[in-house]
């Protein structure tokens, strides 16, 4: 299934570019992008399906369930840079995504 290019996808890609090489939690991405879980996770699922996102479960900490982690792959980085530069040229990057939201 192809990845639909949308402002929400660009927000997620931009978020991963900001923390290149780091493992991220889903809820933190949601807070920084402002996307709802029902929008964010289908995007993460598609990125992972296309090998642009690496996923992993963190080790279990006592009393708390393990969390799912996401890290952008080199293919994902290339794709993110292409899409974001394309969007910058078209002036279509979703501006509100990072406004007034603190980093996790």
């Amino acid at each position: 299934m192809a990845i639909r290019r949308s402002p929400q996808l660009l927000s997620v890609l931009a978020e991963f570019l900001q923390s290149e090489g780091e493992w991220r939690y889903g809820y933190d991405i949601r807070r920084n992008t402002g996307l709802k879980s029902g929008t964010l996770y289908p995007i993460l699922m598609r990125l992972a399906e296309h090998g642009m996102l690496e996923t992993s479960w963190e080790a279990q900490v006592e009393g708390r369930p393990p969390r799912h982690l996401y890290k952008i792959t080199s293919d994902g980085l290339r794709y993110a840079r292409e899409r974001l530069s394309e969007a910058a040229v078209k002036g279509a990057v979703g501006q509100p995504a990072f406004d007034g939201v603190g980093a996790s």
Partner: protein
């Protein structure tokens, strides 16, 4: 735990339970993440968003030949068992053709239309069912896989066969004839005479769902068999 948080947990648990095999990990990821959301209303919003995972049907990764044979046997069993839908449609066709309930022209025409639609569907279902007798017995795996592939390819090419369009039009005839037979007018009451249209839309949605599911199974079968070669 507050009632709101409890509801959120229930929704997440339901999503994990109902998610398709390939999406289960994502449903679990969403459920696990909810533990780290402090605000109860945000947790509820998060869990409601997780319902979207249910729309993403994915097969379990790494399908084996054994899984495929199991699916093929399930399909073969269903084919062997057959169904009595053709008798129901035949009964409806006879009922409307021989015992029309109204002499009012439009209502009568509607009932005749329903009878024709039901008759065509009954004949199609009868012959489709007869094909079920050619199902392999299940002892030969290669034969089972070949049967499975043929059935899935046949289903995938359904819309390319003229007969399938006749079937779809027959369903349309039944729905339209039913509405006319009930209302006696081309302008149906939105609530009183909505049932035929609702059933027709339901049928189309079910058909689309079955078709998508069949195409996914075919892709899975082809991918697994090409890996084996």
């Amino acid at each position: 735990m507050s009632a709101i948080r409890g509801l959120a947990v229930r929704i997440s648990t339901l999503v994990v339970r109902c998610a398709s095999p390939g999406s289960k990990e994502w449903a679990e990821a969403l459920a696990a993440e909810m533990e780290f959301i402090e605000n109860d209303w945000s947790a509820l919003a998060w869990s409601l968003g997780s319902l979207r995972v249910l729309l993403h049907h994915r097969e379990a990764p790494g399908t084996s030949v054994e899984d495929l044979i199991r699916s093929a046997k399930k399909l073969a069993d269903a084919r062997r068992a057959g169904n009595i839908a053709w008798i129901i449609f035949l009964g409806q066709a006879i009922h409307f053709a021989i015992f029309p309930e109204s002499r009012e022209p439009l209502q009568h025409f509607g009932q005749e239309l329903t009878a024709v639609g039901c008759a065509v569907l009954s004949v199609w279902m009868f012959f489709d069912q007869r094909r079920g007798r050619k199902v392999p017995d299940g002892h030969d795996s290669a034969e089972m896989l070949s049967f499975y592939r043929t059935e899935l390819e046949r289903a995938a090419g359904f819309l390319r066969r003229p007969a399938s369009w006749i079937v779809l039009m027959s369903f349309g005839c039944v729905a339209m004839g039913w509405t006319l037979g009930e209302s006696g007018s081309f302008v149906a009451h939105p609530f009183k005479h909505a049932l035929p249209s609702v059933l027709l839309v339901g049928f189309v949605l079910l058909f689309m769902h079955q078709r998508r599911s069949g195409l996914r199974q075919l892709a899975r079968l082809r991918a697994t068999l090409s890996e084996q070669e």
